[in-house]
Every structure is written in C-alpha cells, then in structure tokens.
Amino acid sequence: MLTDIGPILSALRKHRLTASLVVLEIALTCAIVCNAIFLIGDRLATLDTPSGIDEANVVHIVSSDIGRHGDDHARTEADLAALRAIPGVAAATISNSLPLGDTSWGSSLNLTPNQQSSTVDVKNFYGERVGETLGTRLVAGRYFDSTEYVWLDDLVTDKAKPSPFIMITQGLARHLFGNASPLGRSVWLGSSNTEMRVIGVVEHLASAGGVDRSAVEFATIQPWRETTASGGSFVIRSQPGQADRVMALAVEKLKQIDPRRVIVKKETFKTIRDERFAGDRSMAGLLLAVCIILLVVTALGIVGLASFWVGQRRRQIGVRRALGARRVDILRYFQTENFLLAGMGIVVGMALAYGVNLFLMRAYELPRLPLYYLPVGAVVLWVLGQVAVFAPAMRAASVPPVVATRG
C-alpha cells in the first residue's frame, strides 16, 4: 500500500485541478460539520438547564380581571383559599414570574450601598411562599415566615416598609460570596438601595426572560405578596401526577368565583420549558439535517469524480493488470488515493474549522471548539471517503487486462 503513494502523488499532480476540488470540498465539509456538531451539542446542553422546581406538577394560570373590584388583597386571599381547597392541590400562590417563563422582573444587586457600577443583574421572584409552592430545594437557611411578607402594592405606594430579607440561589451565592456562607450577609437592591439580608439559599432557580446561560442562576426570592392586579399570575403545585386535572379544576373554580374574569393562559410547566427552548431545539434539528445532507452531497461528489477518474484511466489500469497487478492492487490504489485526498482535505479542514469557530466565538459568544472534535471529524471524513470510493474502485478493479491491447 505504501509503495503506491509515490505513483499516486505524481498522478494527482497531473490532475491538480480535480484533486484540489476534492480536497477543498472535503475541507469545507469538515469545517462545517465540526462546528455544526459543536453547535448542536451546545444547544442540546441548554435544553437541560435546571429550573430548580418540581416541574412535573407545576401549573400556571394567567387571568385578567375586568375593571377593579374593590379590595385586591381580600380578592387574592379568597382566590387562593379556594384554589388551595381543590383536592389534588399541594400549594397555590400568585407570583410575578415563573422560572424560564417570558415575564421577568429584574433589578441590579450590589454588595455595598451606593455602589457606582452594580455587582450583578438579577431576576426576582415575588409571591407568598413562592419558593415552597414551586418546589424549590432549600440547601441552607430557611424560607420566609408568614410575618415577613408584605403586599407588593403597599410597598410600591409606600404604605408598607419592606422586610429586609432575601433568598438567593446557590449559583448567585457563589458568584457573590465565593465559598463563604451567604447566610446573614447583606446585599443592596436596585437603585432604591434597599438593604436586605440573605436568610436562605435554594439549590437552583432559573431566571425568567431570555437571559444568557451564564446568568440563568442569578435569581432571588423576595417576601412580597402578589396580586393579579399588580401583574401576578396563579402558580399551583399539584399532588404528583395530577397537574392536568388540577389545571382544569382550578380554571373552573376561578371562573366560578368571578365569571367576568378572563383566563388569558393556562399551561403546565412543560409548555413553559418547551416554549423557552423551542428555538434551540429547532436550531439543533436544522443543524443536524444540514450535516447529514452535506455529508451525503460530499460522498456523492466523491463517487462522481472517482468514477470519472476510473473511466479516464481504463487503459492505464488495463496496462497495469496486463503487467501483473492483481485486482486487489488496483482496488488498493484507488482507496489509498482517496485516503490521501481526504487526509489533505482534513488538514485544511481543521484549520478552517478553527477559523469558523473563532468567528462564532466572536459573533455568538460560543466557547472554544474542544480539541477532541478534530480527530473525530477526521475519522468521520476518512470513513466517508472510503465508503464513497468503494464502488468506483471495485469497478476499476474489474477492468480486464485485455483493455491494454485495445485502442
């Protein structure tokens, strides 16, 4: 096989144009496929972003009240009491937003008062017992107790003083305080500079709104009671496996309490997660389709060109056969030739793949292409080349020696 390399290279030199086209095609395919696979992996990884809540049993209902009917607080209490009384409901509350949902409330968070530029931007979750209702996992400290909650609308109209307590996620705690315990530490919220003490840490709680992956854990829970009038929506956790049944019952109950109420949206948490990552999922599917089609097109191109070469060299093959070359030698020749071309394509392709990755890193804030993608890509293309060249090479091997005497 190695002895063939010399003659192959000199033969390729004669077909420089065709050979370089094959090399270029393989190189581009290699560069695109490596980066596409990398992107697919990256997108699929985001699909698994932990929300930190009891996803299977959380139900979300958005309602809109027509006009305003007196006491928002009393209405809220009545609605929630009715919901909690539904059999199969484990917990219910009104919250300003849901993990991975599209409505988000954000503020800046600082480690010192009157800080010039803020430490981190966080997304906030409000609602009576919202952490417990969602089913977050407490890893340190405690949840708020019922005396610590303040109505959000009283807070914004200065009718009540905020209670100076806050809960944060483990990820945010690490970002703010490193490995030191966050419990009892103070943070200052937003431009209003409210000092709040960390009293509890939850394992995960994914931010709402389309935030970056790096910031998805930067979330806080604050002890404000929400009403639907101040933009909140119902969040219910059902007993295991009863989400759908509870959703239907809850909607019915809410309509029964106030028939004029309009149910804008009712969804299980699965819908929220699916909607949040729908773009990523379809992008991954698209990339996969492109990879497959690209590999098929490249393989067909190799088949076409190899067939042409075989046709062009029928006489030479005949001569070689007449001079004593075996079929397997001819087969090897074409296989080795393809191996060399693919090899050259792969070398150029690696450099291209790296270049494309640099572009993507700059334009789309992607991480660097891991090095192990390169050998994997190389093997894939070598195998592809060998599979594609096999049929034409077999045809070459079957050229009879007698061809040498013709023409």
């Binding site: 144009l17 065709t18 086209l21 094959v22 270029l24 095609e25 581009l28 395919t29 695109i32 596409a36 992107l39 809109s64 027509i66 006009g67 305003r68 800046s108 009157n114 800080q115 010039q116 530029s117 803020s118 609308d153 807070l155 914004v156 109209t157 200065d158 431009s191 209003s192 500079n193 101040s230 004029r260 309009v262 804008v264 909607e275 729908a278 773009g279 379809s282 992008m283 698209l286 990339l287 492109v290 089609i293 690209l294 097109v297 490249t298 067909l300 191109g301 076409g304 060109l305 067939s307 042409f308 070469w309 046709g311 062009q312 334009a363 789309y364």
Partner: protein
Amino acid sequence: MFGYYMELALRSLRRSRALTALMILAIALGIGACMTTLTVLHVLSGDPLPGRSASLFYPQMDPRDMVGYAADQASPSQEFPRQLTWADGMSLLHSRRADRQALMVGGQVATQTADARMDAFVSSSRYTTADFFPMFETPFRYGRAWTSAEDDNRSRVAVLGSDLNDKLFQGQDSTGRVVRVDGHDLRVIGVLKPWRPVPHFFDLNVGAFSATDDVFIPLSTARDFLLRRAGGIQCWGKGSGDESTLESSECAWLQFWVQLDSPAKMTAYRQYLADYAAEQKAIGRFERPAHTRMLDVMGWLDHEEVVPGDVRLQVWLALAFFLVCLINTVGLMLAKFMRRSGEVGVRRALGASRASVFSQLLTEAGMIGLVGGVAGLLLSWLGLWLVRLQPVSYAALAHLDPMMLCATFAMAIGATVAAGVLPAWRACRITPALQLKSQ
C-alpha cells in the same frame, strides 16, 4: 446558434443521466437552503414603512439619577433608557416642534361588545395620541382617527384593528357602536384595514415581530381608566412602578415618535432636544450629563438588533452549504466536460472556434442551473413551509415574495454558469490534433 447549443446541451445531459441528476440535486439543495434562510432574513430585516421610515425618528434622553453612573463612555450605564418618562414625553408632545408626533404605550385589555352575553376576551391594546394614525399611515376601512382635541378631552373613543372588528362585529362597519374595554364603554370611531408593520418598530418592547395591536385608545383616556400596560418599564430613584402614579414617577415606560420631513427640520429638532435636556439638567431634574439621541426607523431597528442571531447563523450556514454544493458541481462538470474531449476535438478540428465551444459548454451549465433553480425553488417553498411550522414569533411572515423568487433564479443560473467557467475553459483548451490522434 443558441438553439443549437441548447439541443447539444440536452443531448449531452441525457447521455450521462446520473451525473446530471447529481449536479441538479446539489444545486437545488444549495439554492433551497440559501433562499429559505435569505427569505427569512429579508423579511425580518425589511423596512416596516417603505418610503416613510427615513423621516420618522425616535428621540431618546437620559433622565436618570447618578446611581450606577460611570463616566466611561463605553460603560453600559451610558446606554439610554429605551423609553421616555411621562413628564418628558408630554413636554415633547405638547411642544409640537415636529411635523407630527405621537406618544404611546402598549397594553392588554379585556374586550367585549355591549351585549353582556358575549364572553370577554383579552386583546392587545395601544394607548396613543392623535398623530399616530397619519404619521404611520395606518389604512382605515371605516371611520376616522381621533383628533388632538379628543386627546385633550379624554374622549371615550376607540379605533379597532381589523381582526378585533371581525371578532366583535363580524367585519361590519362598527363606527358609532360600543366596545367594552375592561368594563368601560368606548365609542368606535374608526376601523383599520389589516395592518402589520414588520418589524413592530414603534414598540419593540411587546415583541419585535408581534402582530399589530387590536384596539387603539387615546392615551389620556387609558390613563383615566388605568388600563393595563404591557411592555417594559425602567425605574430609578424613588420611581416605584406603581401603576396609578406613573405620571409623576421616575420611570420610563412610553415610546415617542416624531415625523420630520426635511433635513433642516431634523437638525432643528436635534437642537431642540439637546436644549430640552440641557434645560432639564439646569433646573436639576436630570442629574446625568445631558445627552440625547435621535435614530430613524432603520437606525433604531439596527441598534436594537431585532433580527435574531439564529437567523443570521442560519444564513451563514446555508451559504457555506451552497459553497460546498457549488464546488461539488465544478468538480462534476469538469469530469463531464473532460470526458467529452473527443467530441470537442472533432468540433474544433471541423472549424469551431474556442469561443463557440466555450459558449456551448456554458449553455449546458446554464441549463443545469435553470433546472436546479426550479427544483431549488420547490425546496425553498418546502423550507419556508417548515419555517412557518416553527414556534417562533416571525413564523407566519416567512413567505417568498416576487423579488426573492427572481433572486432564486438569478442566483441558481449565475452560480452554475460561474461554476461552469473553469471546466469549460479547461475543455476548450484541448489541442484538437492530440485528441483525434489518441482516439
């Protein structure tokens, strides 16, 4: 002569069916991928108001306090709030320095007719001022827009979008009838024809590609009833975001657009804006160094990066894919043309010039391009149909327009002919004598 070349091309293509099919397939796939992604990009990065967008501007200023302010120009704290406060919006609106001006915010309301048996449903609303309609040239089917006087009088009137009029009044002329909005009765004075500027440039906060609003209500009336507001709000200092006191709070929550018909007016308005900010700074309302900005529609869309990054990524991917397909085609065409060296030799020996052989081979390439283009067009339709099935906000907008249709063919034929140049040139350089001898 061209007819003869076509015939030759057809014959040659028929002779090597597999190779021809392969080339057509490669071109079709490449074109299909490119046209699908380029059409989406074309739709999303289009001009929402062609011909008018260059005279519409979005004035911005920075009324925030000094908390979090960094003097460094590159700091994100220097970025303007996306919207205006009520105080600034009203000052600019009432100064009437522009040809037209409108202050607005989006919202959500429960709508129904006066017939109480009908269940209310949620519609998207826009609370705005009189100039909104003439400034954006909203097309009216029935009735009229409201006037500035009606703005000032807090009139109980509404203009319906086409969809909502269909739903509430079965598409009839509903002017003079009553629409019940969050329990308040408003008189319908106008109904729009279907109207959906893409992107939804005047308010990107409710989604850059959201469908247009269902019901339009005077801003003053909406504030009287405290109708629900949607979209972003940014507060600082003592701004609490309490919905009932938004007029006096330190929160930015309104969009303001002006129409300026000449460059001179543009310059004058910029100056007016700068003077306004300087004056507010002088009286101590603004704390930060006074600076203002005024982008036109396309400038604003560009600044807000409304085209999703994924759409651009898909275009890059499709172009790279098309490049591979083209290289593939060049290789295959080279193989095909070189295989016919004998025929070319005979034609050359019989007196055909190099130029005529060359143009004959290019005709053949062009035919592959044409067929590839037709197949590519079918694939683009399929691709766009798949895009429309995607759960993205712009899904419904992905349609091929005549311009992109022509572009498809131009691109397919252009690219294939370009791909044919090198192989054809190689083939027509054959020395006739050598070819004839070796046969």
